[in-house]
């Protein structure tokens, strides 16, 4: 049994060295006779390479017979787990289209590298599919770039437009974004069909990414067979790879980083696991950011200051209750203003006036000083001066307390009753103070507007039931005269 096998190997090698169409080669007939003489156990003994098995299928089984399809399915199932070599493809071309379609097309469904190998074999064997089938194939699984290029060889040249139109129509009704992407990408490749021959997909054991390639090569292909094809595979791989780069579609090449040389293994490792590294990079950046930021939040400390910096006078401070900015100029103006207030505790208006004006000289928009200048000038009967400074104060803050009241009194001093009424009313709108209402009512009474005065008194009496609001009789009673300040 062993010599027969050896003889079979020699005849096969000799057949493949001859040229011309296989059936016409002289060794083909010898091989045919040898195979007919094979005992059945020899076939089952195993240890045959894929190429030899395919040759046996060709020689032993009849065309379009179920045995051949079954035999072929088994051979293809093992061939697609590794990169097929040229001799195998040469034999593959001898098969009829029907046998090949029945055995090879189902393999194209495999989502992993076996599907890619099956598409590659179909493309090398110059098989063709009907236009309707492509839509289903593209939906069946995820397609990589190389698979799509190989699949494009299964389209007859005259049917390219037909296939593109059908895919375009299918894309409109398609929900899944992934399938839509596959349709458009396949159409893109069909339009730019520049690759002369199919591309060998990545199914080499050493470089295949993730675990699935290792898992398939160990479980299915016996060790010794694996050695021989690798030798031939590396040659074919080298021959094909340059073609791969040359025929790559219009996708721009990855620009070589000038000067940045990393060891190829490292680059390959990073390249193949790019997504994982990018996600890890994102995670660490955000974590660092979050922890630092929260750390800063927790610390309530002000920045540590050197002794010199601590005693330096800043340009301004922020008042902790009113949130205003305070400068040294404001503090100086404040000091004069407060000294003026001290004089007012003794009703010394003229001395106080001097100090309030000093404060205004330092800070012209010191509203309290403006109010107080008006108040002092009113008390020393300088009505015009009082009016100008009180109106200036109103311009800065229209709601400043008692400003309208003083303006009303200035108007009374200038006998401008209409203006006095207006300012009294304004003040009452700002602060519903019963004492101001009483003063206004007395003023109305002096103008002989009795009913208006009584209306006002009754209105405020309702507001302040516990207060006693009584109009003063004319002329004013000396003993009860209140020294209004």
């Amino acid at each position: 049994m062993h010599e027969t096998k050896e003889k079979f190997y020699e005849l096969t090698a000799e057949l493949l060295r001859e040229d011309g169409v296989l059936p016409n080669r002289p060794t083909w007939i010898k091989l045919r006779q040898l195979v007919q003489a094979f005992e059945p156990e020899l076939l089952q003994s195993g240890g045959w390479s894929d190429t030899h098995l395919l040759l046996l299928a060709l020689l032993k089984t009849a065309e379009r017979s179920p045995e051949r399809v079954e035999f072929l399915s088994k051979v293809l199932a093992s061939v697609t787990t590794k990169t097929p070599d040229e001799e195998f493809i040469l034999l593959l071309k001898q098969l009829s289209t029907d046998d090949l379609a029945k055995s090879l097309f189902p393999c194209m469904y495999q989502a992993d590298s076996r599907g890619s190998a099956a598409v590659y074999l179909a493309a090398r064997a110059a098989l063709h599919l009907a236009p309707e089938a492509f839509q289903y194939f593209l939906c069946a699984r995820l397609w990589s770039q190389t698979d799509l290029i190989n699949l494009s060889f299964l389209v007859r040249p005259n049917e390219i437009h037909n296939v593109c139109a059908m895919l375009e129509k299918a894309a409109e009704t398609e929900q899944s974004a992934i399938n839509k992407e596959a349709f458009s990408e396949f159409r893109y490749i069909l339009f730019n069909q520049s690759s002369q021959q199919p591309l060998l997909p990545d199914i080499e054991p050493s470089t295949a990414p993730f675990a699935e390639q290792r898992q398939t090569s160990e479980s299915v292909v016996p060790a010794q067979l694996n050695v021989k094809p690798v030798a031939t595979l590396s040659q074919t791989r080298r021959t094909v790879t340059p073609a791969l780069q040359q025929n790559a579609p219009h996708k721009p090449e990855q620009p070589d980083k000038a000067g940045l040389q990393f060891p190829p293994e490292l680059v390959r490792l990073v390249e193949t696991n790019r997504t994982v590294f990018l996600i890890i990079f994102g995670l660490t950046t955000l974590t660092l950011l979050a922890s630092n930021f929260s750390g800063w939040l927790i610390s309530d400390s002000a920045p540590v200051r050197s002794q010199a910096e601590a005693t330096k006078i800043p340009s301004h401070w922020v008042d902790s209750s009113s949130r205003e900015l305070i400068t040294e100029r404001d503090l100086a103006a404040d000091k004069d203003y407060r000294m003026g207030e001290l004089y007012l505790t003794r009703d010394k208006y003229s001395e106080a006036l001097i100090l309030f004006e000093d404060a205004l000289a330092t800070k012209p928009d010191h509203i309290q000083a403006l109010y107080r200048v008006g108040y002092c000038r009113l008390n020393i009967k300088d009505f015009a001066g009082a009016k100008t400074s009180l109106e200036k104060a109103l311009k800065i803050d229209p709601a400043f307390r008692h400003t309208n009241l003083l303006l009303a009194r200035v108007a009374i001093g200038q006998n401008d009753n209409r203006l006095a009424e207006k300012h009294f009313r304004l003040e009452l709108e700002l602060t519903a103070d019963p004492m101001i209402a009483l003063e206004y009512a007395n003023f109305l009474q002096n103008l002989n507007k009795e009913d208006e005065a009584n209306d006002l008194i009754s209105k405020f009496q309702a507001l302040y039931p516990e207060r006693v609001l009584v109009l003063s009789q004319k002329p004013e009673i000396k003993e009860e005269q209140e020294q209004q300040q």
Binding site: Y136, A140, Q175, S176, I279, G282
Partner: protein, 172 residues
Amino acid sequence: MFMYQLFKKTKKRSGITLVEIMVGSAILAFIGGIVGHWFFMQRQYQRRIFEISDGQQSIRQTSWAMMQELRTARSVLFPRLNPDNSIHSDSKVVFKSFSGDVICYYYNASQREIRRCKIPNGPGAPEFDPEPIAKDVSQIIFTASDDGNRLIDIFMEIKGSFGLESVYLMNE
């Protein structure tokens, strides 16, 4: 050919692939991680803020209560200056109130509370306030620093907040 029958049964595929789910859940897990970490830190931060907030509020209430009574008091009976005229501090203060009775604020170290009791300046037993003036008090120091016994300084620490008060007694 038989392939078409096989393909016709292919259902229309929609939905999310495993990779998308994995990426989505990884990102969400990360977001959860960050937010969880952040929550933990903020929880500590929050507890500290609540402590400072509570501490300040009890300092305010305690100071206001003591201040109102001390403001119209007649004189500080204890603590008083040392014989060598240096300032003297204690964890309690005893003073004669506006109406002449003896009032005492003292610190109960075991309960960490400030309590008040009124000792009649006349017949009758001392009366104790049912509720403490302040709780969770880390330390309280009453300091006499005026030879006329009309000024008492109060320093309190409650949950990391400091209270610094002084009261000048208006009456004699």
